[in-house]
Symmetry: C2
Subunit: 311 residues, 2 copies
């Protein structure tokens, strides 16, 4: 077994890579995700891209460990998806379909869990076996690695941490219908919401504009020494840090890997999370590291490859 | 391999059992836990009890799969304990010591995690591979089973859920120094605290006595139709249900097994937990069962046995 494929299915494109066993990426490319017709073409398109790459490189199937796949939906341990928000799929036997169309062993996981596995293998969590990855993007996603393996859970929804309640007094509703979800404070849109709240009655001068403010603006302003922006970052960090303390009580990670668009703010982001984390963490969970994700858009294909390579 | 030993080390007694591979308990007994002299005698006492039982029954070591042990402290995946509250141990290589003194393979886990494994194997979680056990006793303990295995974590402190924050507005301190911990509402002492708060300014008639009230009194009064007691149970259930929704977001269990002294109240207890759980649970985690623990004091020795028997 010298090679394997890592596949990261997104709503717009499918990212694909061919890896050597040691983790070296030999080649990576993308194909469009054709969601029309309930996403019927997605898996056949992936299979023909893989079969094409095998022919192009003159590989033998015996040299290939298999195909790992990340899917933006809960995935059961049998590699089955029961509905997706972005792909058009309803019930879909991803593992079985790809194994039949490629003749290669296929392992499938939820994309956030798979990205966490990638960051454990080759990214911010390298060298650790207990990792929590938190993705701060449009929403808040999570992936949890326990003893080197993805926490899949009974419904394929382990580590779905975006909607844990971190504020039981919140009055505004989250998109999920609940109130006080982590996503309302720590996602890019959540940070904008916090900024607008702060700016509504703000009397101090600030470089932030209430109408156009973005999450990036907030952390750029923090770096520029803007006191109003710092207060917004403190609020963001308090809710996220408290939320992570709760997650640590359950999963007891060695490291939190913070990724997603918001994490591009850099190390300054982590400084706002650590203190409130330590404020709420149980003593046994205080010795934990906070690091930024390292793999960016490659986390998905790397983790998918690792899924099929195993320990 | 026909037999194995399950050992549950407590602060006062060590519970021990000899099991057949299928889970049948052939014999169980207790020895005192001698905590004097930094607990130096505890492991030698266990080893001689096991060696004695092997001789007594005329067993051969080749017939014995090994010894599983539950310890009331965090335990690393290498079977090492770094300090205990009740046993006098500081650094203790439990696995290595017992393997050397008995010649039998030994596996060691935290007692709450081990009890959860027992309940998965033969108790309330039977048939499931993703189980969260919550022990409502003097404190609140937790044990988490993911895909049939204990969630040990980086510090041996996975599932230490007693101190997750479920009320960020709490003003009274928990024993851990924080405020708003699950244990302040859902343990036996937490329920007494809630009852006393409720009874302080209560004008309705009630059978509860503010000076002498116990957790058992509260649920006995609930069963007798006492409206004040029902309000206390609602408060208890709200904090616990909300806390379990957070735990589900991380661990995604199929079933919550509720054990410990407080759970002797029976099914009525579960009825107060379910509704607030569903109020806060993310949609993917709503399909979960709540059951009472079934094994009582045997959960520890059963889980310990399972630890060494494996899948």
């Amino acid at each position: 077994m010298k090679y394997c494929f890592g596949v990261d299915i997104g709503g717009t494109t499918v990212k694909m890579g061919i890896f050597e066993e040691n983790g070296t990426i030999l080649d990576k490319w993308e194909i469009p995700t054709v969601v029309a017709n309930e996403g019927a073409a997605i898996l056949p398109d992936i299979a023909s891209a893989i079969n094409g790459k095998i022919t192009e490189r003159g590989l033998k199937k015996e040299e290939i460990a298999g195909i790992g796949v990340g899917v933006p939906a809960p995935v059961t341990s049998a590699g089955i998806v029961n509905g997706t928000a972005n792909l058009g799929w309803k019930y879909k036997e991803v593992k079985r379909e790809l194994e039949e169309s490629t003749g290669l062993r296929t392992e499938v996981g939820n994309d956030a869990n798979v990205a966490a596995l990638g960051e454990m293998w080759k990214g911010g969590g390298e060298g650790e076996k207990n990792v929590v990855m938190v993705t701060l993007g449009t929403g808040v996603g999570g992936g949890i690695i326990v003893d080197g393996k993805m926490l899949v859970g009974a419904h394929g929804a382990g580590g779905e941490i975006g909607h844990i309640c971190v504020n039981y007094e919140e009055t505004e509703k989250c998109g999920c219908g609940n109130k006080g979800c982590l996503e309302q404070y720590a996602s890019a849109t959540g940070i904008v919401r916090l900024a607008r709240r702060q700016l509504e009655n703000e009397t101090r001068s600030t470089i932030l504009d209430r109408e156009t403010v973005t999450a990036k603006d907030v952390f750029d302003a923090v770096k520029a020494g803007d006191e109003v922006a710092k207060d917004i970052a403190v609020t963001f960090g308090r809710y996220l840090g408290h939320g992570l303390a709760t997650i640590a009580a359950v999963a007891d990670p060695a490291v939190f890997v913070i990724g997603g668009g918001v994490s591009k703010a850099g190390e300054v982001l982590l400084s706002y999370i650590k203190e409130p984390y330590l404020e709420k963490a149980f003593f046994a969970h205080r010795d934990v590291r906070f690091v930024l994700a390292k793999l960016g858009n490659d986390a998905g294909i790397c983790g998918a490859a690792k899924l099929v390579l195993g320990d």
